[in-house]
Symmetry: C2
């Protein structure tokens, strides 16, 4: 007997923001693949493992960590994913209950979907348990109506220009920018050009290191770390 390989979305960082379904799958698993990263200071970090530990899943004989690069080193990440694919497949075929976790939602800007697609293409049964994306948790943390009524919302994953932002925000719409560290200068420039918009800046949402700023001068003067995002709207987005 074999069980579907489950891709369990952990949500934004607060362990209590995992779903009942996700927690059930994790508690029932024999084996949980969990990403970790090596940061610039040479420290190994795993937000995913922190979330697992927060819901009481700490058995190191169940958790299998795999190392990912922080940013754009695609080739390295894909080598890691190939290894996860092979190990997960082999454990699945031996009858184990395998979970693979992802922060946020596993199908929303999550490179782990590569492993999902590869397993699916091989005819292996896979399931995806959804989770709360970081921008939704950020909006909740600041009490925002991120998008409302007939507003359009555009999500930009870290590559944008001040001109593009101007075009997108020209019609009372809302914009979410993720991976801010990849477009710091353009975002700073846009904020200085457009003080009429409202800016909501977040770091490490749902973790003890959470930061929330809504002072545009301050936002336009700081460097953005990797886990940061910005929600921009017209004044129809209420302030916190």
């Amino acid at each position: 007997m074999t069980y579907p390989i489950q891709f369990v979305s952990l949500g934004p960082g607060d362990p209590e923001l995992i779903t009942l379904k996700g927690l059930k799958a994790l508690r029932d698993a024999d084996c949980i693949f969990c990403p970790e990263t090596l940061n610039r200071n040479g420290e190994v970090r795993s937000r995913a493992a922190d979330i697992l530990s927060g819901v009481g899943i700490i058995d190191e004989s169940v958790i299998r960590r795999f190392r990912l690069g922080m940013s754009k080193q695609r080739a390295e990440a894909f080598t890691a994913y190939e290894r996860v694919y092979e190990q997960a497949l082999s454990l699945h075929l031996e009858g184990h209950k395998v979970c693979i976790v992802a922060e946020g939602d596993a199908g929303f800007y999550s490179s782990i979907h590569y492993v999902y697609d590869k397993l699916k293409a091989q005819g292996i049964p896979v399931l995806h348990i959804p989770g709360i994306p970081a921008f939704i948790a950020a909006g909740a943390c600041a009490g925002l109506h991120v998008a409302s009524g007939e507003q359009q919302l555009t999500v930009l994953p870290g590559t944008t220009t001040a001109e593009e932002l101007g075009r997108l925000l020209g019609q009372e719409n809302a914009v979410v920018i993720m991976k801010l560290s990849q477009c710091t200068d353009e975002v700073h420039r846009f904020i200085r050009l457009h003080p009429e918009h409202t800016y909501h800046y977040f770091e490490n949402v749902g973790t003890p290191d959470e930061v929330y700023l809504n002072d545009s001068n301050q936002i336009a003067s700081i460097r953005f770390p990797y886990f940061s995002l910005l929600i921009i709207g017209k004044s129809t987005i209420s302030h916190a």
Copy 2:
């Protein structure tokens, strides 16, 4: 002693997709405001109450239902929200633990945010517990990578044209259209003009009445009900 009024997001429909935090708040509440609607056939429906019941919250002395119109009758909805505001405020001031629930996420195209903003403006402590939006659950149900890498994602809440869709999808980006019933003809027209895109159509995600279609001819020939959404992408979005 008073407690913050908690806006609890219930997620897309499957009771197991509520968060641990949301469930805790609901179990602890003295009073839960819950929307219901009257459909065209004169039946009273409440998806929110179905979700509450699915997690075992069925005490009718705790649940207070309020009636909302299905579609665009704004004035009627705001009268209902004013009543929720007044009752929630008065229960809060008497020391009760008050929750107000919303499907999906309470800050993502959710008109209940009107009540949140009004309470906050009066200095009443409010909390927003985030939830999974329907489009994220839809993507998970079909095993899609809704948006990936440097793709932009645009969410359109029911008002769009074939021309706008063409512009948005011109650059390998992804689009989510909610409230499809408001733009049926334009969406049908776009699908017939652009068979090169991939179309993923969903009704009643996360409920027993769930429908998923990815045959574009079929999608271009059906009428869309209120709880429906469409995810459109280039071929980079994997098929289920």
